[in-house]
Symmetry: C2
Subunit: 103 residues, 2 copies
């Protein structure tokens, strides 16, 4: 399993548009065969900060996400709304290790 956290800071005037575009990406991403989770979170203290929590069953499945049409559409749509470049960090899973705890 591989979990990528993506830290995003959007320009405050685009918060609603960003949420809308990201929910579309969410709906398509959770239907990918190798996807386990795709959580969309908004910071309580700073509503312009978002975290995506993207869990895939393998590195290959995570890579395949980046090849999808919905990912490309999201990436291009939200790019001009970013306050600064987003930061993605790949992680290995220490716990839980059981696949059924992920989907």
């Amino acid at each position: 399993m591989l979990v990528t956290t993506v830290e995003i800071r959007v320009k405050s005037e685009y918060i609603e548009e960003f949420i809308h575009a990201t929910l579309e990406n969410y709906e398509d991403s959770i239907r990918e065969p190798g996807n386990l989770r795709f959580d969309v979170l908004q910071s309580v203290d700073d509503p312009a900060r978002f975290t995506l929590y993207e869990a895939y069953e393998s590195e290959e499945a995570a890579g395949a996400h980046k090849q999808t049409e919905h990912y490309a559409r999201w990436r291009d749509t939200v790019a001009p709304w970013m306050e600064k470049p987003r930061v993605g960090t790949p992680h290995r899973v220490i716990a839980p290790v059981e696949r059924k705890q992920w989907k």
Copy 2:
């Protein structure tokens, strides 16, 4: 629902001890009544960087976690192993909104 991400950088000589202590905290935390997830992740690029992904059904449940004996034990055990103070960020959930997607 409330998700707190906790970013942790441990001293490299304490990585194994940190994982051991954190897995103990994980086992106790997922048994808390209001806990939804408690994922323990390790950065692929820097094995001394960890992320905890702590999902609770309410702010009260997240607060109750901080009052538990296992949390206090983990906090005090790992404190001297930290390279720098850990950073916790509380988030509201944009997606998925269904409770059953969380536990």
